[in-house]
């Protein structure tokens, strides 16, 4: 029950009432419908057949028996008699048919079958009767009457029919009793249901109201606590209904607020501590500013010396560069010469190989010639000698060619080696030259750099003095900051958030102690700005330096 939302319990109550009403009305409706059905049966199955049965019975007695009698008495003509009889028969049949179609009880059906049998018998008689009438046979008719042929069949029929009529009435009575009973039962159940429903509704609503009241009461207590600034009591027993949710959010809010308050508390403590540190730091700052100013002057004089040496350096570098470039050019020229030499050597080698070929061919020619000469015998002798000489010459030129070839080969190789070495050398020298060039450029850069440094140092001095002034101002501001942080702490201490509450007091005391100490210091050592002019060697200000 606790967890069901209020709206839900209200929905349930309303739904319950609706169901109750619906049940009630449907109960009443079925009862009424039942009664109607009974009444309808009573009328159609009992009262109307009553009439029909009566007409049948009447037709037999009045129509046929009477008519026969009247015929015998000549009260009516034959024709008329016949008409009456046929009409009676028709009526009997009509009514009987209608009746037989109504709903019948078992007893009724037994009776009806009996009537049916009698009716057939009666019909035979009636047909006979009709024939007699047709023949206008008075005697026959008479005879029939006398023999009781007619009455013997019609009387039991009539009895049976009366029996049926009676039965109708009995059944109707039974039905009425039935309806009466029904009505009494209906009344009883109706009143019972109404009373039960009312009782139930009352109980249900009482429960709902109670639970809502309980919750609201709890919430109110919690919110009251919060308004008192007490954040220590947590909100418990959170149920899931609307009130529960409300309390839930409220709890989240208190947690968050608790955190914020704690943060504010610790920050303001921090601020207070920082303010103290700040004021001591700004004091140190003003002290170091003075030291800086004196160092700056020394720097300035060293820079001057450096500038002059840089200039000298740059000059030397430039000279070196020129020399290196010249060397590189020379080597390059030398290199191309070596290449040419190598090429010439190669050409020589080529040509020499041709000479070698020629020598080879000459040798072969000489051999051929020698062979020819030898073949020619005595006549060829002189020629053979020449051929041999030529062969020797060829051999010698071949050897010479081979030597030259070898020499030129070595030459080419040497040339190529030196070419290779020189080629390697040139980029090195070039590299040196470019490095030296870079040095020159760097020196120049340095020169202008040192000038810039000087001016920068000047600027630096000014800035240092400004810094000293600023640091004093800063100290004041720091003190103010500390006091404001204290105020803040005081304000925040209204909230009881449970934790940190123990440190509150000692911290505050510490702060106030420090504050006092610092105030004394600041009073004592108030720094004075120093005006440094580095370019003019400020000997006049040396005294001031000494003071620090």
């Amino acid at each position: 029950m606790k967890n069901i939302k209020i709206s839900h319990s209200l929905y349930i109550a309303g739904g319950f009432i609706i169901i109750f009403v619906l049940f009630l009305s449907s109960h009443t409706y079925t009862r009424a419908k039942n009664v109607r059905h009974l009444v309808k049966t009573l009328y159609f199955d009992r009262i109307e057949p009553l009439e029909q049965l009566y007409r049948v019975s009447n037709s037999y007695t009045a129509g046929i028996v009477d008519c026969t009698k009247k015929l015998l008495l000549n009260e009516i003509a034959w024709n008329e008699g016949r008409n009456i009889i046929t009409t009676s028969i028709e009526e009997i049949d009509n009514n009987w048919n209608i009746y037989s179609k109504t709903s019948l009880t078992e007893e009724e059906e037994v009776l009806m079958n009996e009537v049916e049998d009698l009716k057939t018998k009666a019909n035979l008689i009636i047909e006979k009767l009709l024939i007699l009438i047709e023949n206008k046979d008075r005697e026959g008719l008479m005879n029939m009457r006398l023999t009781g042929e007619i009455s013997s069949c019609i009387v039991p029929l009539k009895e049976k029919l009366d029996e049926l009529i009676n039965m109708q009435i009995i059944v109707s009575r039974e039905m009425y009793n039935n309806i009466e009973n029904n009505y009494i039962r209906t009344n009883f159940s109706f009143f019972l249901i109404v009373i039960l429903g009312i009782l139930f509704c009352v109980a249900f609503f009482l429960i709902i109201i109670y639970s809502i009241r309980q919750k609201i009461k709890y919430a109110t207590e919690a919110i009251f606590n919060l308004s008192e600034g007490d954040y220590t009591t947590g909100i418990e027993g959170i149920s899931r209904n609307e009130i529960g949710i409300l309390l839930g959010y409220l709890e989240t809010m208190t947690v968050k607020q608790k955190e914020v308050i704690q943060t504010v508390k610790s920050v303001s403590e921090g601020v207070a501590a920082a303010g103290t540190e700040l004021s001591s730091a700004s004091q140190e700052l003003s002290l170091s500013a003075s030291e800086q100013a004196s160092s700056l002057e020394e720097v300035s004089s060293s820079m001057e010396e450096m500038a002059s040496s840089i200039e000298q350096n740059a000059g030397n570098a430039k000279q070196t560069e020129e020399i290196a470039n010249m060397a590189a050019d020379n080597i390059e020229e030398c290199n191309s010469k070596v290449s040419e030499t190598a090429e010439s050597m190669n050409t020589i080698a080529d040509k020499i190989s041709i000479i070698g070929d020629i020598a080879f061919q000459t040798n072969i020619l000489a051999l051929n010639a020698a062979v020819e000469a030898a073949r020619a015998g005595e006549h060829g002798k002189g020629f053979g000698v020449v051929a041999a000489e030529v062969g020797k010459l060829a051999e010698r030129s071949k050897i010479a060619a081979a030597e030259i070839d070898e020499l030129s080969g070595t030459g080419v190789k040497n040339a190529e080696d030196s070419k290779k070495l020189l080629s390697e050398l040139v980029p090195e020298i070039r590299k040196t030259a470019s490095l030296v060039q870079e040095i020159t450029a760097a020196s120049q850069d340095q020169n202008s750099g040192s000038d810039q440094i000087n001016t920068t140092i000047q600027q630096l001095n000014e800035i240092t003095q400004q810094n000293a002034a600023s640091s004093e101002e800063m100290a004041t501001s720091a003190e103010e900051l500390s006091s404001q942080a204290d105020q803040l702490l005081e304000a925040v201490s209204f909230f009881n958030v449970g934790k940190n509450s123990g440190t509150k007091q000692p911290y505050k005391a510490l702060m106030s102690k420090k504050k006092k100490a610092k105030k004394e210091n600041w009073q004592k050592e108030k720094p004075k700005g120093v005006n440094i002019k580095l370019n003019k060697k400020g000997d006049t200000l040396d005294d001031q330096y000494e003071r620090f």
Partner: protein, 174 residues
């Protein structure tokens, strides 16, 4: 050496094969050529190197190294072909002989020619006409008709176990 009616001096062309120096009677020598492109003739005896175009004629060329059972070597600048004219089967035929280098034409008198020592000689005696000693070196005088004959010669070298291996003929067919 069927006609020795001429004085007792004869000219010989010396040439080298490997380390050995050989001499050929110049009467058989027609010409000395640098080695041209040689067209191989498939399925011929292995000492037949092929044919060359010699002045518009097709000249068969003998690989003399193979004939003398020496290992084959790469052609050098000094490699030459000696065109010889020999008698084979009563027919004068021309044939080229590949040699490592051609040296000289020497005048040699018959007295200088020594017979081939029967024992300790490398070559079958029928191919050698004699030996000549010239400047501390023995020159082997060849019987050109025999050495370059068109008839199939089994082996010139005496030791047959290192003899010519027949060329692998046809390992054809699957």
């Amino acid at each position: 050496m069927d006609e020795k009616q001429k004085a007792n001096q004869n000219s010989y062309l010396t040439f080298r094969l490997g380390k050995e120096l050989f001499a050929a009677d110049v009467r058989y020598v027609l010409h000395i050529l640098p080695v041209p492109e040689i067209t191989e003739v498939p399925n011929s005896t292995d000492y037949m190197k092929g044919v060359i175009n010699h002045g518009g004629k097709v000249l068969p060329v003998v690989d003399t190294r193979v004939k003398f059972n020496m290992p084959q070597v790469e052609k050098t600048k000094n490699t030459c072909i000696i065109v010889v004219e020999i008698n084979s089967n009563n027919d004068t035929i021309n044939v080229g002989a590949v040699v490592d280098s051609v040296h000289d034409v020497l005048e040699i008198s018959d007295e200088q020619i020594q017979p081939q020592p029967g024992i300790g000689s490398k070559y079958q005696s029928e191919f050698i006409d004699g030996m000549i000693k010239e400047k501390d070196e023995f020159i082997i005088l060849l019987n050109m008709n025999k050495v370059f004959s068109a008839e199939e010669v089994d082996t010139i070298v005496k030791t047959p176990e290192t003899g010519n291996q027949k060329p692998e003929t046809k390992n054809q067919e699957s």
